[in-house]
Amino acid sequence: MRMNSHRHLFALLIAALFSLPISGWAQHESDEQQGDTTHSEGMVEHAGSSHEEGHATFDPTATALHHIADANVFTILDFIRIPLPMILYSQDDGLDVFSSGRFHPGEHDNGEYAFHRYVMFEGNVHRVKDWSFPNDLVEIGPHSFTERIVDNDEVVYLNYQGQEYPLDHRSTLDNGLFGGKITSFYDFSITKNVLTMILVAIILFWLFRQAAVGYTRREGKAPSGVQSWLEPVFTFIRDEVAIPFIGKDRYLKYIPLLMSLFFFILGLNLFGQIPFLGSANVTGNLTVTGILAILVFLVVTFSGKKHYWQHIFWMPGVPVFVKPLLAFVEFMGVFIKPLTLMLRLAGNIVSGHIAILSFIGLIFIFGKAGESMGGSLVGTAMSVPLTMFMMAIELIVAFVQAFVFTILTASYIGAAIEDGHH
């Protein structure tokens, strides 16, 4: 299974090409909105949630960002909604465990009910800050959310019985440390991404179990069934990644890590590319890739030998006055390596998804969100081939990024456990 590296580079360039203009354009849009802000008393209707007014608008940025975000409901084709368990904790209300079906998520994954002051907006749980809001199961109905920009901050408002209640931001568990907002509650729920990870882990376990059973039962015979799918990939990673980078006599210790990383990332990448099936964007989530990168960082740091640390803090063979400078650069490198590992995977997957979503968005942009039929047809005629092309590219990127993550991990480990004989 050799990668065609032409395609890898091509895919990267295409992804970069198509994802960048969109983010530039998105900024332009929000600039315009902020420009409006000064005219209308510091508040402006956010597009995408203003359907009740009748003049439908389409905000491609908000749509794309909504579709790559995590959610508390597993949506298939926008009409089958599988509720997921909610595990919420707030300091004043304590622990709350219930099913997200209580919210009765409807159109745009907006919940039509509020429960214990929690509501669902675009698939994510928010909390009503106001104490006067009933602490019970309350029907709030569809189209009851408005998003506004107040002081450069997007705030969602809930309209209930003629009154407006500001909502808390969505919980990010980091307490505002990494750009998330400080919230009055914590969300430990099994979200769409977590469910997908569990599913992929179960599928991988089952596949490898089948293969393992095959090897014990048909020892010495030619592989069959699932074995013949997994064996070439497995031996490719072993012979092209593990042995050359780590070394013939020590690679066996790191094979479980490398194989788990490769197949887990590959499985998640491929699962995320099945259209409509929840479209969980797991490997495009910085938290997930961050945890994978921390794992690699720990393994590399704890298997580092004397030779490795000597090369970081006191590089031999260079003049003494260069040594502190090199030590600084190398020490930074220790942290930058896992950081780029995290960013590369998430960046590639997200840029692919955003490219596809913006091609699909062409239909609504040309069709003026359903007002112009001819425009929609033109948009569809452009969108379908572009989307199919992008999906083919994404399929290659799924393999290449899993491979790159593994090969880089192997090279970092190889550098860490190297013995010093030049």
């Binding site: 050799r2 990668m3 590296s5 032409h6 890898h8 580079l9 990267l12 360039l13 970069a16 960048l20 983010s23 530039g24 900024q27 600039d31 750009g179 092209e240 990644v241 050359p244 930058i336 950081l339 780029t340 590992l341 960013l343 590369r344 960046g347 290449v400 491979f403 790159v404 090969i407 880089l408 090279s411």
Partner: protein
Amino acid sequence: MTSLIAIGAGLAVIGAGIGIGLIGGKAMDGIARQPEAAGDIRSGMILMAAFVEGAALIAILLSIFMLNG
């Protein structure tokens, strides 16, 4: 400020493009010169491209963070 950030992101991509282009070009040279080493050259090329891409990604992510914060 926004346009400055956008220019920065664009410059990062130009840099990565030049870098990856050079890597790809030299690798093709190498493969043409020594087709039997194509496998080694290819995996080395992907590795190097990934490093170059990593530098560009840091710049892009920084600009996204600056846009949001």
